[in-house]
Symmetry: C2
Subunit: 314 residues, 2 copies
């Protein structure tokens, strides 16, 4: 591997540019930088964030080569620009790159992002005529910021790539090379397929967790008792509601339609449980449930478990 131009872990010939810039640099951006270094990338890494503290930490740990105060300086000569902030910050960065920062963007540079929603972001980049390929590495954790970043966050995880119509092959190759360099497996799909899938397996669970807290804790008379009895199941089911609210707000606001559809389907599934529960409470039902009552509930739980057990384990 030669200085200034590096091949990623699993890259078969695809090369990463000599200079990569991050606009936004927290858990995901930081983990990408650490993964690139772990894979032997020796090019220049520069990062900018509004506050600047995470890039300075990256510089101190010698992961980054530069942590300038101005976004334009981070872009200097970068062949790949990674927008690694929350969705609304990515939207704002696209406007900047098409406006005040356009002159700072290197000729032939590729722009990508790592945000959790793709439709609005990719659409905006297309409207602005930017050389943009959307990305979403399917990895994360509850904690945030560069201090939580790890080099192995993306290993063997999917990295969704959303290429607008007319994307140049060089731009697509560059983003795929980035994904592979971190140990992830790139998967190309449309923005809407991505947004519907993550609404189901990621954004609906966030709302389900928050609603669980809201509904249980709203009973202020009973909540203190319930809280004291809560065990592992409650903690698992509410962990997502402990995450970064700013990030969650941006995700939900930029993927409202697919999420609303997922929440409605979820409410329908809860209604099917209420049918079972109401049957158990029916006045004509025996005071003590019989084996047939238990059997119907058991079968419903069993079929949910069968679906889960058919999952490929990550």
């Amino acid at each position: 591997m030669t200085t200034g131009s590096s091949e990623g872990r699993g890259a078969a010939g695809a090369r990463l540019p000599d200079r990569i810039a991050f606009l936004g640099f927290g858990l995901i951006g930081g983990s990408i930088a650490l993964a690139l270094r772990a894979a032997g990338y020796t090019g220049r890494l520069a990062a900018w964030t509004p506050a600047g503290s995470d890039p300075r930490a990256g510089l101190d740990r010698q992961v980054l080569d530069a942590a300038p105060r101005a976004a334009a300086e981070a872009l200097d000569g970068a062949g790949l620009v990674i927008l690694a902030g929350p969705p609304m910050a990515v939207m704002a960065a696209l406007d900047q790159l098409a406006g005040p920062l356009r002159a700072a963007l290197a000729r032939g540079a590729t722009i990508t992002d790592v945000a959790s929603t793709k439709g609005l972001i990719v659409g905006r980049a297309e409207d602005l005529g930017l050389p943009f390929v959307g990305g979403h590495p399917m990895a994360g954790r509850e904690s945030t910021g560069f201090e939580s970043a790890t080099a192995d966050l993306f290993v063997d995880r999917p990295w969704v790539i959303v290429a607008p119509d007319g994307t140049a092959k060089a731009d697509l190759d560059c983003v795929e090379a980035l994904a592979r360099a971190t140990g992830a497996g790139p998967i190309t799909m449309s923005a809407i397929d991505h947004d519907l899938a993550v609404a189901a397996i990621s954004h609906l669970p966030l709302i389900a967790a928050a609603a669980l807290v809201e509904s249980v804790a709203a009973d202020t008379e009973r909540w203190p008792t319930a809280r004291d009895l809560a065990a592992g199941g409650w903690r698992d089911m509410t962990r997502l509601a402990r995450g970064d609210a700013e990030m969650g707000g941006g995700i939900i606001a930029t993927n409202a339609r697919p999420i609303a559809s997922a929440v409605r389907a979820y409410r329908d599934a809860l209604d099917s449980w209420l049918v079972e529960l109401d049957r158990l409470m029916d006045e004509s039902a025996p005071a003590v449930p019989g084996p047939a009552d238990v059997e119907r509930v058991r079968e419903k739980l069993e079929s949910a478990r069968a679906i889960l057990e058919s999952e490929p384990r990550a």
Copy 2:
């Protein structure tokens, strides 16, 4: 500590009887037996289950002294009988103890249980005139059976005790001594207070997890893609739906009314999210959400998080 009569870990003088019998012996019963041995209990422990395999495993590991084929033999001389099966098995065992097994029950014996619902069970025991004090150790795990049992399962966990009106002090003392001997902290409350609390923090989460699987996997066209992208959040939110469906069926069937009320409150909380989502999708809303839109969602997430962060950590 003298042979045949032992004080529990935290017991201030309260004594456990020389012989204890388990009807039902899986994760919870097995963990109680292991905890008693770890606390130095040297009395006789006998266990019976319909299949008999878990008691035999307990005998092989020298945790139990007897694993008889007949429930009546397990009861022989036992001053404490622990009903350690799922809710419906506990209901059936109460009927047996008031009927065919009544003669096998030692004079002065105390009966308790460890099931997840209390109203129906305690009510049944009262109707049958049994010397019964209900119990519910607030601990568990996804895996089941004696092979998953551990001596420290109950350490520093609450152990709810539900004593019917007119309970003899000796019976209550005996069950409290059992809880303390395992390292748990006994908490006395009414059956309905218990059932409402666990409906909120334990049974509703189970239904929320199962409904999540049902609603997402019902979209058979999109489920394979979504499944491949699922990460830690999805696994956390569906872990409860991987549990024992037989156990879950018994719990839900014997606590239908409090659970139905909790599911309705949950559906209301989801509806409050749909209001926010619909506002974001309104035709008069801008195509790209503004800071005020994100702020409303962020505040909603933030208030859920604030409630969680006010929890005492277990």
